[in-house]
């Protein structure tokens, strides 16, 4: 009997085309006022919706789960180029989209991260139809022609040259080249590669790579959830899902064993301060130990009675920061310092090690303090719709689970003292890290010279001066001869032309 009803329902839905394709697959309570709902709109598109009526506007962000680190080495930069075209032009004439968004009281932006490409819009609450229209227009009909490509190329090359000019940006690129096994890690692409891109290449990459990635739409704001779902269903519910990717994402293989446990050093003249970056491979967001690592980051970073304060206050470093980020299939906990050239990097390594050893016997109060601080930080993003949307987007891009952020808040609350030493031993060891330093070249002091050496130097100088004098005399003589010769020729020429 049940089977019969199911079959009837199936046929009714298919025939009338009124049955929505979306499905609720999870909800998470963020706070007293905010609840996140996670839906599947079609096989390639998910949506997270949070109704927040504080301000009569809404945030609309679209994430494609591919970013610059997912691009082939030597061909990086195409996603960033497409991001410019999709965000700037979409399905309209060049320049029109900006006009439409702004005339309707909206704002828009876009960015390309290592593992996702993101498009952001913000509108007054009555413009939801327009937001979906722009988003679906961009998805189905982005215009990639000669005019658009040439205009964006100029802008992108300017943007690129600005980034390349930044030493810190170059150091970050080198470090992530080590992390991603890429000799030349250039998220915006090389200048030569960008210059030769044409509309055909980009159209092909758009159709066969970017559009085949899984997407997430995040809507947060003064919206009616049912209406949002109906509009998304209307735009994407009947989408023809394209087949397998023609160029699949490279299979990630982390960590990079070639550099694991190594300490790489580069030198550069005229450097005011040395740079030091140490990153430990850690599990991705969603792993049960991620919360414990966030607690450790908080302790190392706190402004007083911490590794950071002791390093800065003692003058060993000028600045010090610790951060945690989740990437596709892995995470990184990174310490970054700017230090005077005479601070030994070994001292820095030793101080980090000592602090981590101390933290293996973390007190209950220290753990609670770090927990409270971490919660304060995490709750802050609920005040900012754009940050909140980013948290869903990042979790989607790195683990395909957008609602990990609220889960992480729960994990933070339940972390125990005994987890900490295990986490340190498992992840925060030197053999599980990559270190890169940039410093000035070493100057070798030469031993004092003898009288004999000074004598030889004086003789050599005299000889050199005599040789140079001879050369100059020869040149002057030769020059005069040549001058006489060519002056005659020039006069002859003038004479001929006058005739």
């Amino acid at each position: 009997m049940i089977k019969t009803y199911t079959l009837i329902a199936f046929f009714v839905c298919n025939l009338s085309s009124t049955c929505p394709a979306y499905q609720l697959i999870g909800t998470a309570t963020l706070s007293e006022e905010l609840v996140a709902q996670h839906y599947t709109i079609n096989a390639n598109l998910d949506a997270v919706i949070v109704a927040d009526r504080t301000t009569p506007t809404f945030e609309y962000q679209t994430y494609y789960s591919a970013g610059s680190a997912d691009e082939e080495e030597g061909k990086q930069g195409r996603l960033h180029f497409l991001e410019h075209i999709i965000s700037g032009t979409g399905s309209r004439e060049y320049g029109k989209l900006n006009q439409i968004v702004i005339a309707n009281g909206g704002q828009k932006n876009a960015s390309t991260a290592y593992h996702y490409t993101r498009f952001m819009m913000r509108f007054p609450k009555d413009k939801f139809d327009l937001a979906v229209e722009i988003d679906s227009g961009r998805y189905y009909n982005t215009v990639i022609n000669e005019e658009v490509v040439e205009k964006e190329k100029k802008i992108i090359l300017t943007e690129r040259s600005r980034r390349v000019a930044s030493l810190n940006r170059r150091i970050v690129n080198y470090f992530f080249g080590l992390v991603y096994h890429k000799k030349n890690f250039e998220p915006l692409g090389t200048e030569a590669f960008i210059k030769q891109l044409d509309p055909v290449d980009l159209q092909d990459y758009y159709e066969n790579f970017l559009r085949r990635q899984k997407r997430l739409v995040v809507v947060i704001g003064d919206v009616d959830v049912d209406y949002v779902l109906a509009k998304l269903d209307e735009a994407y519910g009947n989408e023809q899902i394209m087949g397998e990717l023609s160029s699949k994402l490279p299979t990630p293989h982390y960590p990079n064993y070639e550099v694991l446990g190594k300490r790489k050093t580069h030198t550069s003249k005229n450097l005011l301060l040395s740079r030091f970056r140490k990153g430990w491979y850690i599990p991705e967001l969603g792993h049960r130990d991620y919360a414990g690592l966030l607690i450790l980051e908080r302790i190392l970073e706190k402004p007083s009675n911490s590794l950071k304060s002791s390093l800065v206050d003692s003058g060993l470093v000028k600045s010090f920061s610790v951060s945690i980020n989740s990437y596709k299939g892995f995470g990184l906990m990174t310490c970054y310092a700017e230090l005077p050239h005479d601070t030994s990097r070994n001292t820095l390594h030793a101080m980090i090690r000592t602090e981590l050893e101390r933290l293996k016997s973390i007190s209950k109060s220290e753990l609670n303090a770090a927990r409270n601080q971490q919660l304060t930080t995490m709750y802050s993003s609920f005040y900012n719709r754009s940050s909140m949307a980013s948290e869903f987007g990042r979790a989607f891009a790195s683990a395909n689970k957008p609602l990990l952020y609220p889960k992480l808040i729960k994990d933070i609350k339940s972390i125990r003292r005994e987890d900490i030493p295990r986490i340190i031993n498992q992840y925060l060891m030197d053999y599980n890290s990559i270190t890169h330093a940039l410093t000035v070249p070493e100057t070798k002091e030469s031993p004092p010279r003898t009288f004999l050496e000074y004598g030889v130097m004086v003789l050599a100088c005299v000889g050199l001066i005599a040789l140079l004098g001879g050369l100059v005399a020869l040149l002057v003589w030769g020059g005069k001869k040549l001058h006489q010769k060519f002056s005659r020729k020039a006069n002859e020429y003038v004479f001929e032309s006058d005739d």
Binding site: K151, K318, A369, Y383
Partner: protein, 439 residues
Amino acid sequence: MFLKVMISFVLCYVVGVLPAVAEISNHHIFYRQDKRAPVTSIEIVFLGAGSKQEQPSQTGLAVAASKLIQEIAKKHGYMDKLEALGTRLNTSPRTLYHTISIYGLSEHCAESIEIVRDLIYDLEFSESDLRQIKKLMVTDYQNYLRKDPHPLMRNFVVAQTKGIKKLKSLKTLQDLSLKDIRQYYDQLLKTDVVFFKVISSLDSTEVTKLLRPITEERQRGGFVHSLKFPTTDYSVGPSAFVFNANIKSVLCQWLIPCGDISEESTISTLISDVLLDDARGLIHQYFRQELGLVYGPSCKVRWSEGVRYLYIFADPKLHNSEELIVKMSDFIRELSDNPRFWESLKERREILKVSYVHNQTPKRSLDREVSRAIYNRPTRKGGSDSVTDEDVRSFLEKFFISQNMIMVFAGPKDHITGILNTHWPEIEVHEQSTQSLIE
């Protein structure tokens, strides 16, 4: 007194939106409830304290006092106590006021307030603390120079051309004495008006109760709030400041001084919106989209020691720099005759009618309300809608002229002076070292 505060607070709360006030009553609470997160942010604002109270020979005093509060909080365990609750402490001096603020979990708010009360009323400064702070501030000054010298450059050139005080000086910093700090802090604690700026998941009655420890013990007779600054009506005419830097681009800023802090700012804000509020901004359209000379120009209205100015920033590559500098300077000078400006103004008026809703977040509306109360500027009835094209034209003709334009460049010195000599041989060029910004 407490009853008076309660009544005014409850009245305002019942009305919903607090009206702009000409004068802020002592211990007034500007408040918004926001239940989206279980956190509370409280700013204690000492109105009248701040960098305005420093003599030119005491530049850095307010910042030093601020840093000392933090340092002592660390040294005497207050910071640890706050951190244990997940509460962040911040202190920050502005030109006309000084804030001590906390941000943390609402459930620990009462305890955090008690700790802050103990800290601010039991503060004892020592010579060694001051020495330590001076050392940290020297590092800070050098970091500013290295990482983001543009605000320092702007303050420096306004100081040089308008006679205001330079905000950072290593010399005056070294000369600061413990006596100066104690005097400043004593005056700060007794500031005539202290008020609160609160966003919290807690309700108003709870917040009022929470703040009692701060208000109960306060004496008065310290700093008094005033918008009056020393007269700054002299100008050195069109000038250019060049900071030598070995980089492959030229960092360019154009400053257009336009009035003082107490004057209404609707027209200057409207013009800066037309020029560069978003991708429809005229500078973005023309210099980025059409000419492709820059990637991320910006345009803002700012104040430095009472002097208001509009500034435009652009960072062209070396080979684009001459074209950009010449075109941008002409663009500024000829703005009132530029038909595209008037079209953009018309378009911007329409945009403002629909985009204002983005500013209705609890934080932004609270900031606006507090700002209105502090600066007490004459407000235009009808806001930017009441500004006519003629008002804008007179403003442009008064301020957007060669004589009032200050150009600031950082990049290869010879390249920049070459451009200036070619196009504006009459202009007064000041070659400066970046170190002079903090000397």
